[in-house]
Amino acid sequence: MSGIVRGNVGFNDLKIPGMWSRKIGKDLYEVFIGPQHPGSGHMRIIIRIDGDIIVEAEPDMGYVHRTMEKLSEGRAWIKAIPLFERMAIHDACNVTLPYVRAVEKLLGIEAPLRAKYLRVLLCEINRIAAFLYGFGIFGVFLGHSTMYMWPFGDREVWVELAEWLTGARLTHTYPVFGGVRRDVPEGFTDSLRKAIRYMRRRLEDYRKIFVDNPVIRARLEDVGVIPRNLAIELGITGPNLRASGVRYDVRKNHPYEVYDELDFEIPVFQEGDAYARVHQRVQEILQSLRILEQVADWLDKHPREPVMHERFWKTAPPLYKKIFQETGRVKLGAVMAIMKIPQGKAYERGETARGEISYYVESDGGNKPYRIRIHSASARNALVYKYIVPGHRVMDLPAIYGSIDYFPPEADR
């Protein structure tokens, strides 16, 4: 009888991979949160509630799956950078940097020191902007409309800086193989310092209206606790992991670019609840500001020098060098489009605003990637809903969802 479903076979007996169903308990009420729900994003969470208590929660991901890994196999190496940016466009530099570094590893080159500082500069700007984006979504999930508008308004400061540096508000495509595409413009570091001081001032305002607001505290404290062992078991990454007391940050454990030369600390909280995750992100922003200050000092001290690796810059015509000296714009060599990467495998990781992202890159020596495997932070963080949401009330769901700072396009790829 294989393959034939008899008439009296219940729907539950159907076993289609990926399309399983399940019996609903007598007193359970099944509610579909998403994907067309104001509080879900590009994702569905199926919850079953008993009264006001959630007994089961199933994150149903994949609504924005774009086959990025496969798409990248059909195009030249450099063309995958703008593609991968679209995983998390407000965190573009962080998301693409490990890919660029992996390919650089295969090429056996390393970016010049100034390019490394510039990468860190844009990474931290992106990180702050992404945290503010997360705060905004979180605020409106808790009904706090001011906390929606304020971070989005202040994010504009960082987006403005990123636009000044790279020429685009979001999809910067800034790091390329061997270096970066622009040097800092005139007067950039002064504005950056102003933005840093402004952000510190604003975080105090955020504290008053949101973080220390008794309503918000009541909503978040002891809600969505991720115990330390569960966080390790599920492979949660990023601020969520550190808010559960695990000392892990790629910038510290596997330093890349110039993170090991900068003076900053990585905050770790023990509580593991939604409120600790809010504090974690506030602290991360403060640390990013600290990094940016040091980067600004470094950039001020060091004059303009090539931000492209010798291998590509040595053969650059005089026009290229003139343009770079005048405007800071790095012209790319025509070889970039048809470049063949030596055969090999490389693995690189980086710390994005939402956690660790890692790329496994394999080349067969051709001008297109043989295989790229992306392991993004949100995909790992999304699993946690299944385990920590049950037992909470329905109104806790947006609080937990927002505190995880889940970003569906990054998870689905």
């Binding site: 905050p267 504090h279 026009l319 012209k331």
Partner: protein, 182 residues
């Protein structure tokens, strides 16, 4: 390595006094911003942001500089730039022969700027605006003639050009800049 982990704890907030203080602080900051909003809204069609010169906006071809190398079409990640065959008369020799010219399809363009950066003779450049109106999708697929002219910028005709500068107290501050046609 100076990077270190730092154990932090959430500040205590339970207790009636802390809650009272929290409520008062929240309302006070609300009242403060109610009286001094520090707005930075752009009233869009009336004002528009005069973007910086290095902005990656729409792309224009300078056919005089173009050496028909095709690098731009080769590097375009979205396959927006394509090459078309057009006759070309050399001004020196007077000979006419077919050459490949780049044209762009703005339906596909993602404004990454690779083509501009890869162009060996700076024949392509960005304009510093992005709010351009097309009547239909066919019009977005540029011809060689339209690709050589900067697209029309409608907001510059009626809007006031402004630019945001970063201020320590107010965040973004809107200042008027020169330019625009009004």
């Amino acid at each position: 390595m100076p990077v270190e982990f730092a154990e932090k704890t959430v500040p205590p907030g339970r207790g009636i006094f802390k809650r009272f203080k929290g409520n008062i602080e929240a309302i006070a900051i609300g009242v403060k911003y109610f009286f001094d909003p520090k707005r930075s809204t752009l009233i869009y069609p009336k004002e528009y942001i005069k973007l910086r010169e290095n902005y990656r906006g729409f792309i224009v071809l300078n056919a005089k500089k173009c050496i028909n190398c095709g690098s731009c079409a080769r590097i375009c990640p979205a396959a927006a730039m394509k090459l078309i065959r057009r006759p070309y008369t050399d001004p020196k020799t007077g000979k006419t022969r077919m050459k490949l010219w780049p044209v762009i399809n703005y339906n596909r363009c993602i404004f990454c700027g690779y083509c501009v950066d890869v162009c060996p003779t700076e024949a392509l450049h960005h304009v510093n605006y992005h709010d351009v109106v097309f009547d239909n999708m066919e019009e977005m697929d540029q011809t060689l003639e339209s690709f050589q002219q900067a697209p029309e910028h409608p907001t510059a005709k009626e809007g006031i050009p402004v630019r945001y500068i970063i201020d320590e107290e107010k965040g973004l501050v809107k200042v008027r800049v020169e330019g625009g046609e009004q």
